[in-house]
Protein backbone atom coordinates (compact mmCIF):
# COMPACT_ATOMS: atom_id res chain seq x y z
CA UNK A 1 0.00 0.00 0.00
CA UNK A 2 1.35 3.41 -0.84
CA UNK A 3 1.67 5.93 1.97
CA UNK A 4 2.09 9.67 1.78
CA UNK A 5 5.61 10.76 2.57
CA UNK A 6 6.01 14.23 4.05
CA UNK A 7 6.99 16.23 1.01
CA UNK A 8 7.57 13.85 -1.84
CA UNK A 9 4.27 12.42 -3.07
CA UNK A 10 3.65 8.70 -2.61
CA UNK A 11 6.39 6.15 -2.07
CA UNK A 12 5.83 2.43 -2.11
CA UNK A 13 6.18 0.77 1.29
CA UNK A 14 7.44 -2.74 1.88
CA UNK A 15 5.37 -5.41 0.21
CA UNK A 16 2.06 -5.62 2.01
CA UNK A 17 1.35 -8.75 3.97
CA UNK A 18 -1.47 -9.72 1.62
CA UNK A 19 0.86 -9.50 -1.36
CA UNK A 20 3.53 -11.54 0.42
CA UNK A 21 0.99 -14.23 1.28
CA UNK A 22 -0.04 -14.37 -2.37
CA UNK A 23 3.61 -14.78 -3.42
CA UNK A 24 4.07 -17.60 -0.91
CA UNK A 25 1.01 -19.36 -2.26
CA UNK A 26 2.06 -18.88 -5.89
CA UNK A 27 5.65 -19.97 -5.34
CA UNK A 28 4.73 -23.03 -3.29
CA UNK A 29 2.24 -24.11 -5.96
CA UNK A 30 4.48 -23.31 -8.92
CA UNK A 31 7.54 -24.98 -7.38
CA UNK A 32 5.43 -28.06 -6.70
CA UNK A 33 4.22 -28.07 -10.29
CA UNK A 34 7.75 -27.72 -11.70
CA UNK A 35 9.12 -30.39 -9.37
CA UNK A 36 6.33 -32.82 -10.29
CA UNK A 37 6.90 -32.28 -14.01
CA UNK A 38 10.65 -32.62 -13.47
CA UNK A 39 10.09 -35.86 -11.58
CA UNK A 40 8.18 -37.40 -14.44
CA UNK A 41 10.71 -36.22 -17.00
CA UNK A 42 13.46 -37.55 -14.75
CA UNK A 43 11.72 -40.92 -14.57
CA UNK A 44 11.58 -41.12 -18.35
CA UNK A 45 15.30 -40.26 -18.58
CA UNK A 46 16.29 -42.80 -15.94
CA UNK A 47 14.05 -45.17 -17.89
CA UNK A 48 16.81 -45.25 -20.52
CA UNK A 49 18.33 -48.00 -18.35
CA UNK A 50 15.57 -50.21 -19.77
CA UNK A 51 17.47 -50.19 -23.07
CA UNK A 52 20.65 -51.31 -21.29
CA UNK A 53 23.79 -49.69 -19.97
CA UNK A 54 24.83 -48.31 -23.33
CA UNK A 55 21.66 -46.23 -23.79
CA UNK A 56 21.82 -45.00 -20.21
CA UNK A 57 25.48 -43.98 -20.47
CA UNK A 58 24.95 -42.29 -23.81
CA UNK A 59 22.04 -40.19 -22.48
CA UNK A 60 23.87 -39.32 -19.25
CA UNK A 61 26.92 -38.21 -21.19
CA UNK A 62 24.86 -36.11 -23.58
CA UNK A 63 23.21 -34.29 -20.67
CA UNK A 64 26.60 -33.68 -19.09
CA UNK A 65 28.61 -32.75 -22.20
CA UNK A 66 26.03 -30.08 -23.07
CA UNK A 67 25.90 -28.88 -19.47
CA UNK A 68 22.24 -29.67 -18.94
CA UNK A 69 22.66 -31.97 -15.95
CA UNK A 70 24.95 -29.77 -13.83
CA UNK A 71 22.79 -26.64 -13.54
CA UNK A 72 19.67 -28.82 -13.25
CA UNK A 73 21.01 -30.47 -10.11
CA UNK A 74 21.55 -27.08 -8.50
CA UNK A 75 18.22 -25.59 -9.62
CA UNK A 76 16.25 -28.64 -8.50
CA UNK A 77 17.95 -28.63 -5.10
CA UNK A 78 17.02 -24.97 -4.60
CA UNK A 79 13.43 -25.49 -5.80
CA UNK A 80 13.19 -28.54 -3.59
CA UNK A 81 14.16 -26.57 -0.49
CA UNK A 82 11.96 -23.60 -1.40
CA UNK A 83 9.00 -25.91 -1.91
CA UNK A 84 9.65 -27.65 1.40
CA UNK A 85 9.87 -24.36 3.27
CA UNK A 86 6.76 -22.84 1.70
CA UNK A 87 4.53 -25.89 1.55
CA UNK A 88 5.27 -26.78 5.16
CA UNK A 89 3.94 -23.42 6.36
CA UNK A 90 0.47 -24.96 6.18
CA UNK A 91 1.21 -27.89 8.45
CA UNK A 92 -0.26 -27.25 11.90
CA UNK A 93 2.49 -26.79 14.45
CA UNK A 94 0.88 -28.39 17.49
CA UNK A 95 0.55 -32.13 17.87
CA UNK A 96 -2.99 -31.71 19.21
CA UNK A 97 -3.95 -29.85 16.01
CA UNK A 98 -2.51 -32.61 13.84
CA UNK A 99 -4.35 -35.22 15.91
CA UNK A 100 -7.60 -33.35 15.37
CA UNK A 101 -7.05 -33.25 11.60
CA UNK A 102 -6.15 -36.94 11.46
CA UNK A 103 -9.22 -37.86 13.49
CA UNK A 104 -11.43 -35.72 11.26
CA UNK A 105 -9.98 -37.17 8.07
CA UNK A 106 -10.43 -40.69 9.35
CA UNK A 107 -14.04 -40.04 10.30
CA UNK A 108 -14.85 -38.54 6.91
CA UNK A 109 -13.24 -41.44 5.05
CA UNK A 110 -14.94 -44.09 7.19
CA UNK A 111 -18.39 -42.53 7.13
CA UNK A 112 -18.80 -43.44 3.47
CA UNK A 113 -17.54 -46.96 3.93
CA UNK A 114 -20.80 -48.29 5.32
CA UNK A 115 -22.80 -46.66 2.60
CA UNK A 116 -25.31 -49.27 1.52
CA UNK A 117 -26.27 -49.97 -2.05
CA UNK A 118 -29.70 -48.54 -1.32
CA UNK A 119 -28.30 -45.08 -0.55
CA UNK A 120 -29.85 -42.51 -2.83
CA UNK A 121 -27.96 -40.05 -4.97
CA UNK A 122 -28.67 -37.23 -2.53
CA UNK A 123 -27.42 -39.29 0.37
CA UNK A 124 -25.01 -37.12 2.32
CA UNK A 125 -22.91 -40.15 3.13
CA UNK A 126 -20.69 -40.63 0.11
CA UNK A 127 -17.05 -41.51 0.59
CA UNK A 128 -14.67 -38.60 1.11
CA UNK A 129 -10.96 -39.34 0.83
CA UNK A 130 -9.28 -36.01 0.05
CA UNK A 131 -8.84 -34.98 3.69
CA UNK A 132 -6.94 -38.19 4.31
CA UNK A 133 -4.94 -37.75 1.13
CA UNK A 134 -3.75 -34.38 2.43
CA UNK A 135 -2.49 -35.95 5.64
CA UNK A 136 -0.63 -38.57 3.61
CA UNK A 137 0.77 -35.83 1.42
CA UNK A 138 2.34 -34.28 4.50
CA UNK A 139 3.74 -37.61 5.63
CA UNK A 140 5.15 -38.52 2.22
CA UNK A 141 6.49 -34.97 1.90
CA UNK A 142 8.53 -35.46 5.06
CA UNK A 143 9.97 -38.71 3.73
CA UNK A 144 10.76 -37.09 0.38
CA UNK A 145 12.50 -34.21 2.16
CA UNK A 146 14.89 -36.61 3.88
CA UNK A 147 15.45 -39.26 1.19
CA UNK A 148 15.18 -36.77 -1.70
CA UNK A 149 17.86 -34.52 -0.15
CA UNK A 150 20.10 -37.54 0.22
CA UNK A 151 19.51 -38.54 -3.40
CA UNK A 152 20.01 -35.07 -4.88
CA UNK A 153 23.21 -34.52 -2.89
CA UNK A 154 24.54 -37.98 -3.82
CA UNK A 155 23.83 -37.42 -7.51
CA UNK A 156 25.12 -33.85 -7.28
CA UNK A 157 28.45 -35.25 -6.10
CA UNK A 158 28.30 -37.88 -8.85
CA UNK A 159 27.62 -35.32 -11.59
CA UNK A 160 30.01 -32.60 -10.42
CA UNK A 161 32.96 -34.60 -9.08
CA UNK A 162 34.93 -37.67 -10.17
CA UNK A 163 34.33 -39.27 -6.75
CA UNK A 164 32.15 -42.06 -8.13
CA UNK A 165 33.22 -43.98 -11.23
CA UNK A 166 35.97 -43.11 -13.63
CA UNK A 167 34.90 -39.58 -14.58
CA UNK A 168 32.61 -36.83 -13.27
CA UNK A 169 29.10 -37.80 -14.27
CA UNK A 170 26.54 -40.55 -13.97
CA UNK A 171 27.51 -43.99 -15.24
CA UNK A 172 25.34 -47.08 -15.40
CA UNK A 173 27.99 -49.21 -13.74
CA UNK A 174 28.26 -47.10 -10.58
CA UNK A 175 24.48 -46.54 -10.47
CA UNK A 176 23.78 -50.25 -10.63
CA UNK A 177 26.49 -50.97 -8.05
CA UNK A 178 25.00 -48.40 -5.67
CA UNK A 179 21.43 -49.67 -5.99
CA UNK A 180 22.53 -53.28 -5.75
CA UNK A 181 24.59 -52.57 -2.65
CA UNK A 182 21.46 -51.62 -0.73
CA UNK A 183 20.23 -48.25 -1.95
CA UNK A 184 17.29 -50.09 -3.55
CA UNK A 185 15.47 -49.90 -0.22
CA UNK A 186 15.56 -46.11 0.33
CA UNK A 187 14.96 -45.66 -3.40
CA UNK A 188 11.88 -47.87 -3.32
CA UNK A 189 10.47 -45.86 -0.40
CA UNK A 190 11.39 -42.58 -2.11
CA UNK A 191 9.73 -43.71 -5.35
CA UNK A 192 6.46 -44.56 -3.62
CA UNK A 193 6.41 -41.31 -1.64
CA UNK A 194 7.42 -39.06 -4.54
CA UNK A 195 4.87 -40.45 -6.96
CA UNK A 196 2.08 -40.26 -4.41
CA UNK A 197 3.06 -36.77 -3.27
CA UNK A 198 3.39 -35.42 -6.82
CA UNK A 199 0.20 -36.83 -8.31
CA UNK A 200 -2.02 -35.98 -5.33
CA UNK A 201 -0.35 -32.57 -5.14
CA UNK A 202 -1.09 -31.75 -8.77
CA UNK A 203 -4.68 -32.95 -8.37
CA UNK A 204 -5.12 -30.63 -5.40
CA UNK A 205 -3.40 -27.74 -7.19
CA UNK A 206 -5.74 -28.14 -10.17
CA UNK A 207 -8.83 -28.15 -7.96
CA UNK A 208 -7.58 -25.19 -5.91
CA UNK A 209 -7.04 -22.90 -8.86
CA UNK A 210 -10.22 -23.90 -10.62
CA UNK A 211 -9.09 -26.18 -13.42
CA UNK A 212 -12.14 -28.09 -12.23
CA UNK A 213 -14.35 -25.73 -14.16
CA UNK A 214 -13.19 -27.36 -17.36
CA UNK A 215 -12.54 -30.88 -16.06
CA UNK A 216 -14.81 -32.44 -13.51
CA UNK A 217 -13.21 -33.33 -10.23
CA UNK A 218 -13.87 -36.97 -11.00
CA UNK A 219 -11.94 -36.65 -14.26
CA UNK A 220 -9.05 -34.97 -12.45
CA UNK A 221 -9.06 -37.74 -9.88
CA UNK A 222 -8.89 -40.37 -12.61
CA UNK A 223 -6.00 -38.52 -14.32
CA UNK A 224 -4.24 -38.40 -10.96
CA UNK A 225 -4.68 -42.16 -10.46
CA UNK A 226 -3.48 -42.99 -13.99
CA UNK A 227 -0.34 -40.84 -13.60
CA UNK A 228 0.34 -42.31 -10.17
CA UNK A 229 0.14 -45.93 -11.27
CA UNK A 230 1.94 -45.39 -14.58
CA UNK A 231 4.99 -43.74 -13.03
CA UNK A 232 4.94 -46.03 -10.05
CA UNK A 233 4.94 -49.04 -12.37
CA UNK A 234 7.68 -47.57 -14.56
CA UNK A 235 9.69 -46.72 -11.45
CA UNK A 236 9.46 -50.23 -10.08
CA UNK A 237 10.69 -51.74 -13.36
CA UNK A 238 13.55 -49.21 -13.56
CA UNK A 239 14.52 -49.97 -9.98
CA UNK A 240 14.49 -53.71 -10.65
CA UNK A 241 16.79 -53.22 -13.64
CA UNK A 242 19.10 -50.94 -11.64
CA UNK A 243 19.20 -53.54 -8.87
CA UNK A 244 20.30 -56.06 -11.48
CA UNK A 245 17.29 -58.27 -10.71
CA UNK A 246 15.73 -57.80 -14.13
CA UNK A 247 17.62 -57.66 -17.41
CA UNK A 248 16.84 -54.52 -19.46
CA UNK A 249 13.52 -55.35 -21.19
CA UNK A 250 14.06 -52.88 -24.06
CA UNK A 251 17.65 -53.92 -24.77
CA UNK A 252 16.61 -55.23 -28.21
CA UNK A 253 16.15 -51.61 -29.32
CA UNK A 254 19.89 -50.98 -29.23
CA UNK A 255 21.13 -54.35 -30.45
CA UNK A 256 21.90 -54.80 -34.09
CA UNK A 257 24.63 -54.10 -36.55
CA UNK A 258 25.72 -50.89 -34.84
CA UNK A 259 28.94 -51.11 -32.84
Amino acid sequence: MPVKAKNSGTIPTVVSDARRQLYYELVSGASGLVLALFMWGHMVLVGSILTGERGFNWLAEMLEVYYIAQPTVVVILVLFLVHAALASRKIPAQLAERRRMIELGKGLAHAGRDRPATASAISPLQAHVESRLWIWQVRTGMVVLVLGSFHVILLGIDVLTPLFGERPGIEALTSVARVKAGLWLPYAILLLCVEFHASVGLYRLAVKWGVGRHFSRRALHIIERVLLWFFLGLGVVVLLVLADVLSPPLAFLLTGPAT
Binding site: A18, R100, L104, L108, S123, P124, G210
Partner: protein
Protein backbone atom coordinates in the same frame (compact mmCIF):
# COMPACT_ATOMS: atom_id res chain seq x y z
CA UNK B 1 -25.06 -55.31 6.80
CA UNK B 2 -27.17 -52.33 5.91
CA UNK B 3 -28.86 -53.72 2.81
CA UNK B 4 -32.58 -53.23 2.89
CA UNK B 5 -34.01 -56.55 3.97
CA UNK B 6 -37.56 -57.09 2.96
CA UNK B 7 -40.00 -57.45 5.83
CA UNK B 8 -37.83 -57.57 8.90
CA UNK B 9 -37.13 -54.22 10.54
CA UNK B 10 -33.64 -53.57 11.84
CA UNK B 11 -32.83 -52.86 15.44
CA UNK B 12 -30.80 -49.65 15.42
CA UNK B 13 -28.23 -48.83 18.05
CA UNK B 14 -27.57 -45.12 18.57
CA UNK B 15 -24.42 -44.19 20.43
CA UNK B 16 -24.89 -40.58 21.41
CA UNK B 17 -22.46 -38.11 22.92
CA UNK B 18 -23.80 -36.84 26.25
CA UNK B 19 -22.54 -33.83 28.12
CA UNK B 20 -24.23 -30.88 29.77
CA UNK B 21 -21.76 -28.03 30.32
CA UNK B 22 -24.30 -26.31 32.61
CA UNK B 23 -24.26 -29.21 35.04
CA UNK B 24 -21.05 -29.48 37.09
CA UNK B 25 -21.81 -33.16 37.76
CA UNK B 26 -21.95 -33.98 34.06
CA UNK B 27 -19.03 -35.82 32.44
CA UNK B 28 -18.69 -36.22 28.66
CA UNK B 29 -19.56 -39.80 27.72
CA UNK B 30 -21.27 -41.91 25.08
CA UNK B 31 -24.69 -43.37 25.81
CA UNK B 32 -26.35 -46.11 23.77
CA UNK B 33 -30.04 -46.30 22.86
CA UNK B 34 -31.80 -49.00 20.85
CA UNK B 35 -34.94 -48.55 18.81
CA UNK B 36 -36.66 -50.40 15.96
CA UNK B 37 -36.21 -48.93 12.52
CA UNK B 38 -39.35 -47.70 10.78
CA UNK B 39 -39.79 -47.17 7.04
CA UNK B 40 -38.39 -43.82 5.84
CA UNK B 41 -37.11 -43.05 9.32
CA UNK B 42 -34.89 -39.99 9.44
CA UNK B 43 -32.53 -39.10 12.27
CA UNK B 44 -35.06 -36.41 13.18
CA UNK B 45 -37.73 -39.07 13.75
CA UNK B 46 -35.31 -41.43 15.47
CA UNK B 47 -33.99 -38.82 17.92
CA UNK B 48 -37.49 -37.64 18.78
CA UNK B 49 -38.52 -41.21 19.42
CA UNK B 50 -35.53 -41.69 21.72
CA UNK B 51 -36.39 -38.51 23.60
CA UNK B 52 -40.06 -39.42 23.91
CA UNK B 53 -39.66 -43.04 24.90
CA UNK B 54 -36.19 -43.49 26.38
CA UNK B 55 -34.63 -40.30 27.73
CA UNK B 56 -36.41 -36.93 27.95
CA UNK B 57 -33.18 -35.15 28.92
CA UNK B 58 -31.53 -35.69 25.50
CA UNK B 59 -30.67 -32.33 23.90
CA UNK B 60 -30.68 -31.77 20.13
CA UNK B 61 -31.93 -29.09 17.74
CA UNK B 62 -34.50 -29.35 14.99
CA UNK B 63 -36.89 -26.79 13.59
CA UNK B 64 -37.96 -27.11 9.97
CA UNK B 65 -37.17 -30.83 9.33
CA UNK B 66 -36.76 -30.01 5.63
CA UNK B 67 -33.12 -28.92 5.29
CA UNK B 68 -33.84 -25.19 5.34
CA UNK B 69 -33.32 -23.93 8.89
CA UNK B 70 -29.85 -25.42 9.33
CA UNK B 71 -30.22 -26.23 13.02
CA UNK B 72 -29.86 -30.03 12.99
CA UNK B 73 -26.22 -30.31 11.83
CA UNK B 74 -24.45 -33.13 13.69
CA UNK B 75 -21.61 -35.59 13.25
CA UNK B 76 -23.08 -38.86 11.99
CA UNK B 77 -20.49 -41.63 12.16
CA UNK B 78 -17.76 -39.03 11.87
CA UNK B 79 -19.28 -36.99 9.10
CA UNK B 80 -21.19 -33.74 9.55
CA UNK B 81 -24.66 -33.70 8.01
CA UNK B 82 -28.24 -32.61 8.65
CA UNK B 83 -30.20 -34.97 10.89
CA UNK B 84 -33.49 -34.19 9.18
CA UNK B 85 -32.41 -35.25 5.72
CA UNK B 86 -30.43 -38.32 6.73
CA UNK B 87 -32.43 -41.52 6.47
CA UNK B 88 -31.52 -44.35 8.82
CA UNK B 89 -31.86 -46.72 5.86
CA UNK B 90 -28.68 -45.07 4.48
CA UNK B 91 -26.82 -45.85 7.69
CA UNK B 92 -25.39 -48.97 9.29
CA UNK B 93 -27.08 -50.51 12.33
CA UNK B 94 -24.78 -48.69 14.72
CA UNK B 95 -25.02 -44.92 14.43
CA UNK B 96 -22.60 -42.74 16.36
CA UNK B 97 -23.78 -39.17 16.91
CA UNK B 98 -21.59 -36.30 18.07
CA UNK B 99 -22.21 -32.56 18.19
CA UNK B 100 -20.52 -30.47 15.49
CA UNK B 101 -16.96 -29.52 16.50
CA UNK B 102 -15.65 -25.91 16.31
CA UNK B 103 -18.94 -24.46 17.65
CA UNK B 104 -19.75 -23.88 21.30
CA UNK B 105 -21.50 -26.85 22.87
CA UNK B 106 -24.91 -26.15 24.39
CA UNK B 107 -25.47 -29.74 25.48
CA UNK B 108 -25.38 -33.26 24.00
CA UNK B 109 -25.93 -32.78 20.23
CA UNK B 110 -26.93 -29.13 20.43
CA UNK B 111 -24.38 -26.46 19.47
CA UNK B 112 -24.42 -22.69 19.10
CA UNK B 113 -23.70 -21.99 15.44
CA UNK B 114 -25.26 -18.52 15.64
CA UNK B 115 -22.41 -16.84 17.51
CA UNK B 116 -19.81 -18.19 15.06
CA UNK B 117 -21.78 -17.03 12.03
CA UNK B 118 -22.49 -13.63 13.53
CA UNK B 119 -18.78 -13.10 14.23
CA UNK B 120 -17.96 -14.18 10.67
CA UNK B 121 -20.51 -11.75 9.21
CA UNK B 122 -19.27 -8.88 11.38
CA UNK B 123 -15.61 -9.57 10.61
CA UNK B 124 -16.10 -9.71 6.85
CA UNK B 125 -18.77 -6.98 6.98
CA UNK B 126 -21.00 -9.19 4.92
CA UNK B 127 -23.48 -6.60 3.79
CA UNK B 128 -23.70 -4.28 0.80
CA UNK B 129 -21.27 -1.37 1.04
CA UNK B 130 -22.63 1.38 -1.18
CA UNK B 131 -20.91 4.72 -1.68
CA UNK B 132 -23.98 6.74 -2.67
CA UNK B 133 -26.91 7.27 -0.35
CA UNK B 134 -29.86 5.00 -1.06
CA UNK B 135 -32.51 6.61 -3.25
CA UNK B 136 -35.85 4.84 -2.78
CA UNK B 137 -37.29 6.53 -5.88
CA UNK B 138 -34.57 5.40 -8.27
CA UNK B 139 -34.99 2.31 -10.44
CA UNK B 140 -32.96 -0.71 -9.43
CA UNK B 141 -29.85 -1.22 -11.51
CA UNK B 142 -30.13 -4.12 -13.94
CA UNK B 143 -28.07 -7.21 -13.28
CA UNK B 144 -26.87 -9.85 -15.68
CA UNK B 145 -28.90 -13.04 -15.25
CA UNK B 146 -25.85 -15.31 -14.94
CA UNK B 147 -24.41 -13.06 -12.26
CA UNK B 148 -27.70 -12.98 -10.38
CA UNK B 149 -27.75 -16.77 -10.49
CA UNK B 150 -24.16 -16.98 -9.22
CA UNK B 151 -24.94 -14.64 -6.32
CA UNK B 152 -28.05 -16.65 -5.55
CA UNK B 153 -25.95 -19.85 -5.44
CA UNK B 154 -23.91 -18.31 -2.62
CA UNK B 155 -27.05 -17.08 -0.87
CA UNK B 156 -28.41 -20.62 -0.68
CA UNK B 157 -26.19 -21.28 2.33
CA UNK B 158 -28.38 -22.15 5.34
CA UNK B 159 -25.55 -21.69 7.86
CA UNK B 160 -25.88 -25.19 9.28
CA UNK B 161 -22.13 -25.28 9.98
CA UNK B 162 -21.47 -28.69 8.40
CA UNK B 163 -18.72 -27.27 6.18
CA UNK B 164 -17.04 -25.57 9.12
CA UNK B 165 -17.19 -28.77 11.17
CA UNK B 166 -15.65 -30.79 8.33
CA UNK B 167 -12.83 -28.29 7.71
CA UNK B 168 -9.46 -29.33 9.14
CA UNK B 169 -8.29 -25.71 9.22
CA UNK B 170 -11.42 -24.32 10.90
CA UNK B 171 -11.00 -27.08 13.49
CA UNK B 172 -7.56 -25.83 14.50
CA UNK B 173 -7.53 -22.13 13.58
CA UNK B 174 -10.21 -20.01 15.24
CA UNK B 175 -9.41 -17.03 12.99
CA UNK B 176 -9.90 -18.85 9.69
CA UNK B 177 -12.82 -17.43 7.71
CA UNK B 178 -13.98 -21.00 7.09
CA UNK B 179 -15.84 -22.38 4.08
CA UNK B 180 -19.11 -20.59 4.85
CA UNK B 181 -17.19 -17.36 5.50
CA UNK B 182 -15.30 -17.53 2.21
CA UNK B 183 -18.54 -18.29 0.42
CA UNK B 184 -20.08 -15.22 2.00
CA UNK B 185 -17.13 -13.04 1.05
CA UNK B 186 -17.24 -14.28 -2.56
CA UNK B 187 -20.95 -13.54 -2.73
CA UNK B 188 -20.35 -9.87 -1.88
CA UNK B 189 -17.27 -9.64 -4.10
CA UNK B 190 -19.40 -10.73 -7.04
CA UNK B 191 -22.18 -8.30 -6.27
CA UNK B 192 -21.85 -5.10 -8.36
CA UNK B 193 -23.95 -3.22 -5.79
CA UNK B 194 -21.17 -3.72 -3.26
CA UNK B 195 -18.59 -1.05 -4.03
CA UNK B 196 -15.65 -2.28 -2.03
CA UNK B 197 -12.65 -2.29 -4.36
CA UNK B 198 -10.57 -5.29 -5.41
CA UNK B 199 -7.69 -3.84 -3.40
CA UNK B 200 -9.81 -3.73 -0.25
CA UNK B 201 -10.96 -7.31 -0.75
CA UNK B 202 -7.39 -8.35 -1.47
CA UNK B 203 -6.34 -7.40 2.07
CA UNK B 204 -9.18 -9.50 3.50
CA UNK B 205 -8.88 -12.60 1.34
CA UNK B 206 -5.17 -12.96 0.56
CA UNK B 207 -3.85 -14.38 3.81
CA UNK B 208 -3.80 -17.53 5.87
CA UNK B 209 -7.04 -16.61 7.63
CA UNK B 210 -8.59 -16.06 4.20
CA UNK B 211 -8.50 -18.24 1.12
CA UNK B 212 -4.81 -19.14 1.49
CA UNK B 213 -5.59 -20.82 4.79
CA UNK B 214 -7.47 -23.43 2.76
CA UNK B 215 -5.52 -26.67 2.41
CA UNK B 216 -7.69 -28.02 -0.37
CA UNK B 217 -8.96 -30.98 1.61
CA UNK B 218 -12.34 -30.53 -0.13
CA UNK B 219 -14.38 -31.96 2.74
CA UNK B 220 -16.57 -28.85 2.95
CA UNK B 221 -17.66 -29.27 -0.66
CA UNK B 222 -18.41 -32.95 -0.15
CA UNK B 223 -20.45 -32.57 3.03
CA UNK B 224 -22.45 -29.42 2.19
CA UNK B 225 -26.10 -30.49 2.52
CA UNK B 226 -27.10 -27.76 0.07
CA UNK B 227 -24.44 -28.87 -2.42
CA UNK B 228 -22.99 -25.39 -2.79
CA UNK B 229 -20.14 -25.19 -5.34
CA UNK B 230 -17.59 -24.33 -2.64
CA UNK B 231 -14.53 -25.44 -4.61
CA UNK B 232 -15.50 -23.08 -7.40
CA UNK B 233 -15.92 -20.31 -4.83
CA UNK B 234 -12.33 -20.74 -3.60
CA UNK B 235 -10.96 -20.91 -7.13
CA UNK B 236 -12.82 -17.68 -7.87
CA UNK B 237 -11.32 -16.02 -4.79
CA UNK B 238 -7.83 -17.21 -5.72
CA UNK B 239 -8.12 -15.86 -9.23
CA UNK B 240 -9.46 -12.57 -7.88
CA UNK B 241 -6.36 -12.20 -5.67
CA UNK B 242 -4.24 -12.54 -8.81
CA UNK B 243 -6.26 -9.89 -10.59
CA UNK B 244 -6.11 -7.55 -7.59
CA UNK B 245 -2.35 -8.01 -7.22
CA UNK B 246 -1.24 -7.83 -10.84
CA UNK B 247 -3.89 -6.06 -12.92
CA UNK B 248 -3.22 -2.42 -13.73
CA UNK B 249 0.17 -2.50 -12.15
CA UNK B 250 2.55 -2.30 -15.06
Amino acid sequence: MTKKESGKARRLRFEIFRYNPEDPESEPHMQAFEIDEAPYMSLYIALNQIRETLDPSLQFDFACRSAICGSCGMMVNGRPTLGCRTLTSDLPEVVRLHPLPVFKLIGDLSVDTGTWFREMVEKSEAWIHAKEAFDPQAKEARMDDDLAQAIYEGERCIECGCCVASCGVANVNQNFAGPAGLNRIARFMMDPRDQRSDAEWFEVVSNSDGVFGCLGMMACHDVCPKELPLLEVYAYLRRKTLVAAFAGRS
